[in-house]
């Protein structure tokens, strides 16, 4: 872990007021992110990973959301910050790459202009300098014939190219933190590899920190140094990527790892499916949210909520009353 902390998240809780009742999408999440570090946030739908990333960004729908806790980015508090203060952060301190490149680009504005805008509004560049820099950025994200593509509209680009443009826009303000929310979901395998390599490369080259939010363990396995595993809005396990994969203690982490098929296994390998489905956030069980699906659950799990406690390795935490023995957590 690096010495300086860029992002400090403490007890972040995001509650939505819905017609069906109060919905706690993120529940008391805390972690630190060092400079130049890459962190993976992994979870299934309803785990709160996307809401968490939006909370870190300070993106909230206007009504019916209550955020408590603290998100400090380079010492600046994001929770409760004014729109104006947040606008100062966006682009220059933190930028986001969304899942769907089609909806995160304005369809009626040329892609070059969309990069220009960030440069001119955020960095106060003049027209000519912004244009030159935009083309440079397009080249950096691997768009061939960048000068020509500068004048292209999003619809004339393929999905992979569009996501490269989104990355270019995110990089325009030279942010210190890049938040990528499912950046490759919906892209083809070979394009996904290209985009992930690109993110890797620019992160190293520009010395950014990165948070990679995904449901796909394959995406984070070799590209992040630390992992946060989320379930029902809470962190259930966190540690170095290696420790989480090889020495996980929380049964949910293991279930997640073992339920996804692997290319290295022979065909017709029986999958260890987790029974049931992700919990209803409006009607969470009293104890551990994973207890109803867990093979090791006891009465205590059903009545009392486990909190994060340290494992043997430094920085490795898990929330479970009946943790797996270390030996059982080997990669399958």
């Amino acid at each position: 872990m690096s010495d300086e902390t860029l992002l400090r998240v403490r007890g972040v809780t995001t509650v939505f007021d819905t017609p069906q009742g109060r919905l706690t999408a993120v529940d008391g999440v805390s972690f630190d992110l060092g400079a130049h570090e890459s962190l993976g946030v992994v979870g299934e739908s309803g785990s709160g990973k996307t809401v968490l990333s939006r909370t870190i960004m300070g993106l909230q729908p206007r009504r019916g959301v209550a955020v408590t806790g603290s998100v400090r980015l380079n010492g600046t508090e994001v929770v409760g910050a004014s729109e104006e203060a947040k606008r100062e952060l966006w682009g220059r301190q933190v930028a986001m790459v969304f899942q769907d490149p089609m909806t995160s680009l304005n369809p009626v504005v040329k892609v070059g202009k969309q990069i220009d805008e960030v440069l001119r509004v955020r960095l106060g560049m003049d027209r000519a300098a912004a244009r030159a820099r935009a083309i440079e950025l397009l080249e950096m994200v691997g768009i061939p014939a960048a000068a020509t593509r500068y004048g292209a509209y999003p619809h004339s680009l393929s999905g992979g190219m569009r996501q490269r443009v989104v990355v270019a826009i995110a990089l325009a303000g030279s942010p210190q933190l890049l938040l990528a929310d499912e950046p490759t979901t919906g892209l083809d395998v070979t394009i996904q590899a290209q985009i992930l390599n690109l993110l890797d490369e620019v992160q190293g080259r520009l010395g950014m920190s990165m948070i990679l939010v995904t449901h796909d363990l394959g995406v984070v396995a070799t590209r992040t140094s630390r992992l946060v595993v989320m379930y029902a809005g809470r962190v259930v396990e966190t540690g170095t990527t290696r420790d989480v994969f090889a020495r996980h203690r929380m049964p949910y982490t293991r279930a997640l790892l073992e339920s996804s098929p692997k290319i290295s296994n022979p065909s017709h390998t029986r999958l260890a499916a987790i029974p049931g489905r992700p919990p209803n956030l409006l009607d969470l069980p009293a104890g551990c949210a994973f207890a109803p699906r867990c093979a090791y659950a006891t009465d205590r799990c059903r009545s009392e909520r486990p909190v994060l406690e340290p494992a043997d390795e430094p920085g490795h935490l898990f929330a479970c009353f009946n943790p797996l023995p270390v030996a059982a957590g080997g990669p399958s």
Binding site: V189, Q194, A221, L256, K262, I263, L271, A273
Partner: protein
């Protein structure tokens, strides 16, 4: 070899007016033996889903034949087509839009029976409840719920029950798990394996996820830009891919293992437009091994190992493969 259950010969599908003709599927031929699972894998736009839909004649093939147990489906029409087609059933990618939100689970599963007046009253109820129970939906508690009240995984289970109602021989699964959470995905894959054994089903499993396809398939076919590149036994094809495209595809796949070595090099660029596909081999524009011959002569499928066919003039051998995945 016994006669295959499904035999596809020279299947082609084109879309659009003459000036903007898209060749979505071009001369695809393969067989599926009774009781086996054939995986059809490829990236978006490769024509794998169109192939599945053309088999069912949801889209009309422009050329080629599809025969099921020796009977030509492409020649049938009207009621005969509708009746014969019930021997094949299809499950779709989007579990929510696969079910009419305004109908109840029981009625959805009973729909095929009602269409063909196969069962009524007590018997209909017995069959439907049996099917629901088999796919893991409690018919007593949930049978009368509306489709819109179910989650994605539950909807997919109901879709499977509906597909099984007519006791089909062939089940075409089009990206059936790609919209589901990992934990639910495993449940559905296991369910399909169980039902296949119980009903003696034959599966055509279309998906983009290489690990999912390998897990469920006996044989795997790889498509690129409307054509078949390679087809062979699942384990053999993944261990020793013979087509350069397959190699790249497998190299790009992400393994959920931090210790896994970064495999192979990444395929550069993107597939060309199906509006104007390259001459000869359609992969030649991105293939590092392409030569003159690849531009002029379309490679035909030929056998490189027992049951393993590849459409490439220069199939990869063990020595040629070098840095590629092993």
């Amino acid at each position: 070899m016994t006669e295959p259950l499904l035999s596809v010969r020279g299947l082609s599908v084109t879309f659009g007016p003459r000036s903007r003709r898209v060749s979505a599927v071009d001369g695809v031929s393969f067989d599926v033996a009774a009781g086996e699972t054939l995986g059809l894998v490829g990236e978006s736009g490769c024509g794998k889903s169109t192939t599945g839909r053309a088999l069912m004649r949801i889209v009309e093939p422009t050329a080629g034949t599809v025969s099921l147990e020796g009977a030509d489906l492409t020649a049938a029409s009207g009621r005969a087509l509708r009746e014969r087609r019930t021997a094949m059933q299809m499950i779709f990618q989007d579990p929510i839009s696969s079910l009419n939100p305004r109908r109840r689970a029981r009625d959805i599963v009973a729909e095929p029976l009602d269409c063909w007046k196969r069962a009524a009253g007590e018997e209909r109820r017995r069959i439907v409840d049996g099917l629901l129970a088999q796919v893991g939906i409690d018919p007593v508690a949930y049978g009368d719920r509306y489709a819109r009240q179910f989650s994605g995984g539950q909807c997919q289970r109901i879709s499977i029950a509906r597909a099984l109602a007519m006791r089909p021989k062939l089940l075409i699964c089009d990206e059936v798990v790609s919209a589901l959470d990992v934990s639910v995905q495993a449940q559905i894959l296991n369910l399909l394996e169980d039902l296949k054994a119980e009903y003696g089903l034959t599966l055509l499993f279309i998906a983009h996820d290489l690990a999912v396809v390998k897990n469920i398939s006996d044989r795997v076919a790889v498509m690129y830009l409307g054509r078949l590149c390679e087809i062979g036994p699942a384990d053999a094809l993944y261990d020793a891919p013979a087509h350069p495209y397959t190699t790249f595809l497998l190299g790009a796949a992400l393994e959920a293992d931090p210790e896994a070595p970064r495999r192979g090099e990444v395929l550069e660029g993107e597939p060309p437009s199906p509006l104007d596909p390259p001459s000869g081999c359609r992969f030649r524009t991105r293939c590092p091994y392409a030569t003159e011959r690849c531009a002029t002569e379309t490679p035909e499928l030929r056998e490189v190992a027992r049951g393993h066919q590849v459409a490439c003039h220069f199939p990869l051998t063990i020595t040629r493969r070098g840095g590629a995945p092993d």
